[in-house]
Subunit: 232 residues, 2 copies
DNA sequence: TTAACCAGATTCCTATACGATTTCGCTGAG
DNA sequence: CTCAGCGAAATCGTATAGGAATCTGGTTAA
């Protein structure tokens, strides 16, 4: 069945999904030939995709020994990731809480309502929850009006990494509640409240994920002296 | 002269340098075959490198029409880039200003002294200045202790992008003075001052680059109400 | 003059081939 | 039983080949 076109795009999606889904275990070696045959393409596009995935921090390259999937995040890496989110996302929520057409509240509302419907029907929530979370946060980043920040955030692939840590039983209701708080503050064009709600959401989110490391956990330290606002 | 090994690494460096140096003009199409022949390799490693460069935002891909180098930054993009730097780097400078072995002041001092020597001997300063600037800022990012933030910053390739905007005559002395202020605050373990000095440096840096867009320039707005400090 | 169209050539994109390096399993000595 | 050494198999990394799409220049019709 010859696919006339667009191999590398498909291969990228497929490998990304394989890593996310766990078909390629964290830290496992990647056999290029095996992947190529299983996807019905040659090794060339697979190699190109691996280069890109390495840039995405989803695979690591050992010269002469090929590629492996990146190991699961350990606790320090998880903290680093959420520290970065605390730098970027509250700022974005603040920036998005403006009385303009760029205000993302309508889109966020649609996203939340759609996900509420999914919650009632779906069995395995993980996939849907991550998809919703990804869209929700990206919508706010996009509305911040700063494509560099948005891209930098997207490049962390934080949802993909954290998805691998998810326990099987996820409570989507908590996430929806916190998202709703963020959405309402943005809708009300209240920058302070939007920033605060996003901060709370990310802190809570970190705590939930950190439960995976039960015992060795030290919470993110609370705010120290206030920091001057830098931009806009 | 056949290199037995490590082609993609060399090709990556070479193409990166070509874009930086301007041998590949901004926005120009990239002829894969021509690049391959000029570097004495086949098209395969060149293709892999292009995938990575696209992830780095240094080339763009049009399906069916090949790759082009990314156009020069326009003013809004430059503003976005420096807004991102204002989010990340003052935070990193603050985090690095701690009384620990991780304090990067000694390394920064060496870097500054080495560059002062270069300034006296070198003719074309641009290349050296960008190299120094890259190392200086990365050293601070590394000392922040957050590899995610460091990587996100590195992925913006801000020095590479801004280098393409540099005028031929650069005054390294101003940069050195501002860097020295940052270094001294970090050495003194004064987080407030380190954050402030870095903020000043980035603002001034933006103003210098923005001169390239003379006339259409609106300065980065000054700080509004203070913003609560989020982490550490 | 302008716009549309159509061959020729170029370029992209995937597939296949092949040497170089690494990994694995076996043998045999300590 | 453990471990060093060696040969075969597997895998990586680059080169080459060929089909498919796109670009170029020239011609014709409105």
């Amino acid at each position: 069945m010859p696919r006339g076109k667009a191999a590398v795009s498909d291969v990228y999606s497929a490998m990304r999904a394989s890593i996310l889904e766990g078909d390629l275990a964290p830290g496992a070696r990647i056999n290029i030939d095996a992947v190529a045959r299983s996807l019905g393409v040659s090794q060339t596009p697979v190699r190109e995709v691996l280069q890109r995935l390495e840039g995405d921090n989803l695979v690591v390259y050992n010269p002469g020994r090929g590629y492996s999937t990146t190991p699961l995040l350990d606790l320090p890496e998880l903290r680093s990731l959420f520290e970065f989110r605390l730098l970027v996302e509250p700022w974005a929520a603040r920036a998005a809480a403006v009385d303009r057409l760029a205000n993302p509240a309508p889109a966020l509302k649609k996203e939340l309502e759609a996900f509420r419907d999914v919650m009632e029907s779906s069995g395995d929530l993980r996939q849907d929850l991550v998809a919703h979370d990804t869209r929700f946060h990206d919508t706010i980043l996009a509305a911040s009006g700063n494509p560099v920040v948005r891209h930098a955030f997207a490049q962390t692939h934080c949802h993909l990494h954290t998805f691998r840590l998810y326990p099987a039983d996820v409570d989507g209701a908590i996430t929806v509640a916190e998202h709703t708080a963020v959405r309402e503050a943005i809708e009300a064009c209240d920058p302070e409240q939007a920033e605060a709600a996003m901060t709370t959401h990310i802190r809570n989110s970190f705590d939930r994920f950190a439960k995976a490391f039960e015992g060795e956990l030290a919470p993110l330290e609370d705010s120290g002296p206030p920091r001057k606002r830098i931009i806009t």
